[in-house]
């Protein structure tokens, strides 16, 4: 089931992505609306991160293309921001919270220029928005998982983009951070910015998002949450995996097989 967005910010056309010739995403075709909080949902290995990495030009496409703001990505890079998975960087790297957020300004600075005072003030402002102003000069090796995620979000805010791709921003963060991140995302979408989030928790997905893409190597559904977030489509997305596990669980219960051998 696929519902087209009326005012599309992102268009995906017949996208296929392969790892070593084995396709991991097949013929994805969808449009995503402006000013929405969009969740990409699916089981492990469904290609959720692969989809946004290929959107950002980090992976070669086997076929198809994507357009943002009706342009190819290279023309609108300064309007698009990417938040990688937290684990993708070395948090023991000798750098401070402020330096990481300032990296969001690098593209606007060009080759030689150093960040100016205005850039620093802006970065501190972004840290204030995510509740990290007390950590400005802290080294990143001293941050907790939730604080690391907030710093990444602040760096994305410093980019002043209109379209955000975020890879698992809610993974492994504390409840306070989850609420803070969600509030910021809702504020961004209220300003007409579009936020696309890879997410794996079905329960919170129902509360967070306006628009959902259900993905399992192919596109199962894309549309407003009230139209596509239903049992039938979720079953189709999570498919065999949910049912097989449920059956195994039932067998274990019926035959009273101990979950561990006893001696």
């Amino acid at each position: 089931m696929k519902i087209e967005a009326k005012d599309p910010v992102v268009e995906i056309h017949d996208l296929t992505v392969s790892y070593q010739k084995k396709p991991v995403l097949w013929n994805i075709d969808a449009t995503l609306p402006k000013g929405a909080l969009i969740g990409i949902i699916g089981p492990n290995g469904a290609g959720k991160s692969t989809l946004i990495k290929s959107a950002m030009g980090l992976l070669p496409l086997a076929s198809g293309y994507m357009r943002m703001f009706d342009q190819p990505l290279d023309k609108v890079r300064d309007r698009v921001s990417y938040v990688p998975q937290r684990e993708s960087v070395d948090w023991d790297f000798p750098t401070s919270v402020l330096d990481v957020v300032l990296m969001g300004r690098y593209a606007k600075l060009g080759l030689i220029a150093r960040p100016r005072k205005a850039d620093k003030e802006m970065a501190i402002n972004c840290l204030r928005k995510v509740g990290m102003e007390a950590f400005v000069n802290r080294q990143i090796s001293q941050l907790s998982g939730g604080q690391q995620q907030r710093v990444f979000l602040a760096r994305a805010l410093a980019q002043e983009a209109d379209l955000y791709f975020m890879d698992e921003p809610f993974a492994g963060v504390d409840a306070a951070t989850e609420a803070a991140i969600l509030a910021i995302m809702q504020e961004m979408t209220a300003q007409g910015k579009t936020v696309i989030v890879v997410h794996h928790d079905l329960q919170s997905a129902a509360e967070f998002f306006d628009w959902i893409m259900l993905l399992n190597m192919r596109l199962v559904a894309s549309g407003p949450i009230d139209k596509v977030f239903n049992n039938q489509l979720l079953q189709e997305t999570y498919g065999g995996k949910l049912t097989v596990l449920a059956e195994v669980g039932e067998l274990v219960r019926k035959r009273q097989i101990p979950s561990r051998e006893k001696y």
Binding site: K53, L58, V80, A107, I112, R114
Partner: protein, 288 residues
């Protein structure tokens, strides 16, 4: 005066190597520095055979090209042949180094270049090898000028590309999404490493230059969590090991380059044991 020339030359090379090495170890590519310092050998020999002089611009260029070529080969074997990075490094640099060794031995008769010198260098000759202009004026040791020029080029390169190098080191995928070419900056950095290695190899040799690339920044990394401080401490260590290494060599009547690296190793060991926050013994004492 000759002691001063030797120490100054060694310090300038050690600072150049340390600044580049700081980026290398944070990129987890210290061994690529090792690979490049060996892989440039055939470039040096070929350029030497073509031009007939040492310390020439062509020689540095030839070696820099080979350094970049070896980086390219390593990336190629890793990405296309799906070989592990360390295996790709091991295959590439030994092969290129062997090629250089064969070239030297085949042309040994015609070439004023021997394996000893290439491997170990001889910084003690710095004060003897003078730069004499066509009009006959003596300008001072030739290696000193090369060391100074190398440092100036490196400082300019790092100043111009600091943001790009820093970002592609910390978070390459983010760098790519804001339009910074990760592979371009990787090759530029490796080009700088090649150039520096070649300039320094006459003085410290292909093996010990690796120590200058890795030991001072690795020591500095244990001492601070700020990158700017890491660069400054690296420079200080570079000067300290050059001075202490020189006098150790004089005292022992041994190889100066060897003594410099020995001091660098001792400094690292002391730091590992006694660094203020991370030192092995410091932590024991704090918890006891």
């Amino acid at each position: 005066m000759s002691a001063f020339y030797i120490i100054l030359t060694a310090s300038l090379f050690a600072i150049s190597c340390g600044l580049l090495g700081s980026f290398l170890i944070l990129r987890k590519m210290a061994m690529v520095g090792d690979a490049i310092s060996h892989a440039v050998l055939p470039g040096i020999v070929i350029a030497f055979l073509l031009t007939g002089t040492r310390d020439s611009f062509e020689m540095i260029l030839g070696a820099a090209l080979l350094g970049i070529f070896s980086t390219f080969l390593i990336e190629y074997f890793h990405n296309k042949a799906r070989l592990q990075t360390d295996a790709a490094i091991g295959v590439t640099f030994t092969w290129l180094f062997a090629l250089g060794v064969i070239l030297i031995s085949v042309f040994a008769g015609q070439v004023d270049l021997d394996q000893e010198c290439v491997l170990y260098g001889e910084i003690a000759y710095v004060p003897i090898d003078l730069w004499i202009t066509d009009s006959g004026a003596i300008m001072g040791p030739r290696a000193l000028y090369i060391a100074a020029l190398t440092l100036v080029v490196n400082v300019l390169f790092l100043r111009i590309g600091f943001k790009q190098l820093y970002l592609t080191t910390f978070d390459p995928s983010f760098a790519a999404t804001v339009g910074i070419s990760v592979s371009l900056w990787n090759y530029l950095l490796m080009g700088a490493v090649s150039m520096t290695t070649v300039s320094a190899f006459d003085s410290v040799g292909a093996i010990l230059v690796v120590a200058l690339l890795v030991a001072p920044p690795a020591t500095a990394y244990l001492l601070t969590e700020k990158f700017s401080h890491m660069l400054i401490i690296t420079c200080i260590i570079a000067v300290v090991i050059s001075i202490a290494g020189y006098f150790l060599a004089v005292w022992l009547d041994g190889s100066i380059a060897g003594a410099i690296v020995t001091v660098a190793g001792i400094l690292f060991a002391i730091t590992y044991l006694f660094a203020p926050n991370t030192g092995l013994i410091t932590k024991r004492l704090a918890s006891a």
